[in-house]
Assembly symmetry: C2
Homo-oligomer: 400 residues x 2
Amino acid sequence: MIPSLESGVGESGLSEEDHRHLARAIELGRAGWGRVHPNPMVGAVVVRDGVVLGEGHHEVLGGAHAEVAALSVAGDARGATLYTSLEPCRHHGRTPPCTEAVHAAGVARVVFWAADPGAEAGGGGELLRKRGVIVDGPFGRREEWRAENPFFFHDPDSARPCVALKLAVSFDGRIAPAGGRRVWLTGPESRREVHRLRAGFDAILVGRRTWEADDPRLTVRGSITPRVAPVPVLLDRQGRATAELRALGEATGATGIVATSSERAAALQQRLGALADVLAVPATPHGLDLRTLLASLHERGVTRVLCEGGGRLAASLLSARLVDRIYLFVAPVFIGRGGVPAFPLDAADSGPEAAAAHPARRTRDPVHTGESRSRAEGWHSCADPVRFGNDTLIVLDRSA
Amino acid sequence: MIPSLESGVGESGLSEEDHRHLARAIELGRAGWGRVHPNPMVGAVVVRDGVVLGEGHHEVLGGAHAEVAALSVAGDARGATLYTSLEPCRHHGRTPPCTEAVHAAGVARVVFWAADPGAEAGGGGELLRKRGVIVDGPFGRREEWRAENPFFFHDPDSARPCVALKLAVSFDGRIAPAGGRRVWLTGPESRREVHRLRAGFDAILVGRRTWEADDPRLTVRGSITPRVAPVPVLLDRQGRATAELRALGEATGATGIVATSSERAAALQQRLGALADVLAVPATPHGLDLRTLLASLHERGVTRVLCEGGGRLAASLLSARLVDRIYLFVAPVFIGRGGVPAFPLDAADSGPEAAAAHPARRTRDPVHTGESRSRAEGWHSCADPVRFGNDTLIVLDRSA
């Protein structure tokens, strides 16, 4: 998962050692998943004369930033180099500016990875430079920064949450055997990872049938306790949700949201009472208008949504280009004839993305043409694949 | 790809250092892919007092075995430890027994990973023990050894070649958009890897339509030049292959094989003349009898076959439980509505494997049940997934 940083290495003459510490800082930052939102995950390492004096990461929203945490472990950091996965902030937010802490600590050099895009927080590198600190950074590309911090680098102009899709498929691309009988394709290791992932989101979005069949609680029951539990959002175009929704409200401690069509909203809210907030969304021939749904969630402060299915909902989101990231779990299971494809054939029109693959060339020698696949195709692998038990997790980000 | 060796570490008290050198030996062995068949791929490391004196691997059939290669680099290996990924052989084959070379070199200790299952070659560990060498091994499980050397550990009683299946699918489990228009799903890095894989096989098996559409040459055009080029085997039930087969014969230097139904074989052979060997195979309602086809190839000395499609052929092989390994390339492409599933819905009955997935339990808390997926399900991930460009390669072995 550690980015190559190669672009940076060449440009600035980062040493092997610099590279290693920066990679370590990025790795440290990941421990903030589910705890620091809406802040980014950041890690930092303080090094002097090749000796690591301190490591730290941003642990929880409102707590010390990574730079301050690492400096505090280091103690005397005069003349040291500070490696951090994000440009030190220069603004008074929930905590004082990191630039001040860095300067006050007598740090001689700062090496940072990602540029802070914030209008207020950004520019810390330049500020430190002006104060006489040697500053190297940023390194890498925005696409790589986004791979680490998908929410922080989500386009703020999109006026919708960052949307991730979780899929579990058999190796022949199906989600259930003929007849739709439900099966667990993935093993317990993958399911634990799903709980870890959930912790990083504001909301979990599922279709009603998936919700009923899979996991009525939609809670986070893994190794990470999220700072704020994600809100369950149920897509229920027909407005059929009933009192069984009780589980939704009970388990999360927060009131769940049920999205239904505008004409059914009032009746549904009346029936559900305090069990859930009903969100009225315009209906289209293909289902609820997902763009409007996401905009409404955004207005309520939901900035990142994990969609866990079902297949129609997933296909619709993909087709509307409303998905930013895909967590694809591939299970070592062959389903075969008549199995339900990952996305049902009657899903909404797949739109322009279907044309994204390369038209086959009738070349006699496709391997040696040296052609490189364009990133404009839509998706790219944004991290190394990981094995969870017998399953494989592939993480894809939408290309800019 | 380096196995855990954990079972071994616990049992024998292998040190961290032992573990590292053994893993290195396994890694070295991989360079023999496409060159050493029918021998296994083997690597070896000679170490004394923590210093690596020599490394080696079995480079080519008939050449030095890994142990001898490493000892020869090491020079004086008296008192050293020899790490090897396979039990040293004790028989006179194409080369003298490794046990003699190891003993003659004055090696004090041998640490080996996989047991040699051969009736003649096996037992080298015990022989060396009797001669006073300290011998530690084997370690790990047959399943892990097979992951590294799938052909060498293929069940000799199966009376058929070891069969691997190469698949390339979109992340929504499809191989082509609606209408079946052919596309390149995977990028050039994956296609290079396919050429590398091909080098390790005796034969490449494809259906006629796939052959026509994809790659009429079926040759190995990658980084490895195989010792013997794989024979192209074309499945052509209808006996429609024509003179365009010329490309088959020309490119490989070897005469290709065309398998067709028994009743069409004679006519087809007459039409093709010297362009290809026609193999008569009984037809079933679902296509040619694949078990008989594989048995016939086996009789001709083909011990390992890579099937590259199409989907029907792949599904039929899978359904008949004739596939030992799957190379699954997952491309970051969304095909969507109407796309052709990885295996067509009208493929042969998927048989008992479709029932392999877990019936879903209506448990409220599937994550915490601690249930572990049985390996009896059919497949397991036998190596870490690897990213090739934007694609991901997942390697699955059939569970015993």
